[in-house]
Amino acid sequence: MPNTTPWIESLREPTLVTADAEIADATLAASGDATAFERLYRAHVARIHSLARRMIDADEADDVTQDIFVRAWEKLSTFRAESAFGTWLHRLAVNVILARRKTVGISRQRHDAREDVLDTVGARPVTPDLGVDFEGAMAALPEKAKQVFVLHDVEGYTHEEIATMLDIVPGTSKSQLHHARMALRRHLGA
């Protein structure tokens, strides 16, 4: 059993210490220190890339992730440490992703929010790797339903926040979420 003392335990404040270090790195980066910014990149790239992959096509996720970090670099001076750096970065990432969707003007079939599209999502065969299959099913959701599902159930935003982000009413967000969940339940396996 490790011979640790309470004062050593008191140092184990990973959240606090990490947040402190990240605010420091954000400040260094804001002054032009790219090495500090790379530390922030390393710490957050998995989460940001996963967000991009889930909200946009997987083959666009790399480009979008790079766009997000470049935008973050440009906006670092606006970070005020009122929240954790990760929270600030995540919100910026959502904004970049949603703006990209508007700019690109996606006109794919997945934009179609008809019920039969949702049914198609649910009809896909279940693979042995349920985690991958579940993400695959998420990717096949209609655009708005996918965005609402990712933002609410994966990322934890409220319907009110999502409504603001997507320029819809909260009731629409709730409805899209329910349809997405109903489609995805068929990918839970037997």
Partner: protein
């Protein structure tokens, strides 16, 4: 599928108005299909919350570094750090603290020099952008104050369990850290727009965080 099905997600999220919630709960006692659907929706939510983040399949930093005009394209990816370099982090607790304090002393000295020189010390040469620092340092320091206070309190309480020399080093180092932080705060109060001071204090705080993290790791091994 009935009219209640549309309400199941809101019920699950506990956002259904009280009256509808009570009515739905009454319905669930008699409808096996809705109970099954509710269970499936709950599992969907659990699955979504349990998704793991994954690294991109290729490293994206070099492209970002190029776009931000960084000279620091050389990666700090720990996976590429030679094993011999990684082993250099294997300090004892007193060694780690002493190393950290050495940094603090150097740091506080640099602050002092900066003040003495009326800001004549310029920002690092590789600072490529005009500085526009987040006004976050007072918040940073205050966020760490509880950790430092807790450390001091528990150190006093548990000093009998520790080696005398370790306690002396810890107490000395704590005093120096306090002094360095206080000095840096005073420096910024006197000259809040001093680029060098802002940059320097950011570096000191980051080094302190690194030190705390390192000591924490070492503590786990003792």
């Amino acid at each position: 599928m009935d009219r209640w099905t549309e309400k199941l997600s809101e019920y699950l999220d506990e956002t259904l108005p009280a009256g509808e919630r009570a009515a739905l709960e009454a319905h669930l006692t008699t409808c096996a299909e809705c109970r099954e659907t509710l269970d499936e929706l709950r599992r969907v939510v659990d699955r979504a919350r349990g998704l793991d983040d994954r690294q991109p399949s290729k490293d994206l930093w070099s492209g970002i570094a190029t776009r931000i005009g960084s000279k620091a394209v050389v990666s700090i990816d720990r996976a590429r750090v030679p094993a011999r370099a990684a082993r250099r982090l294997s300090f004892s607790v007193p060694q780690a603290l002493a190393a950290g304090i050495a940094l603090m002393i150097v740091s506080s000295g640099a602050v002092w020099l900066s003040l003495r020189g009326n800001g004549s010390i310029q920002p690092p040469a590789d600072t490529s952008r005009s500085i526009d620092m987040p006004a976050a340092w007072h918040q940073v320091d205050s966020s760490v104050d509880p950790v430092v206070a807790n450390l001091r309190s528990t150190l006093q309480h548990n000093r009998a369990q520790l080696n005398d020399s370790t306690v002396r080093i810890l107490e000395k180092n704590l005093a120096i850290i306090d002094s360095a932080i206080a000095e840096a705060r005073r420096a910024l109060d006197a000259d809040p727009n001093n680029n060098y001071l802002n940059h320097h204090l950011a570096d000191v705080v980051r080094r302190r965080a690194d030190l705390l993290r390192r000591v924490s790791t070492l503590g786990a091994r003792t």
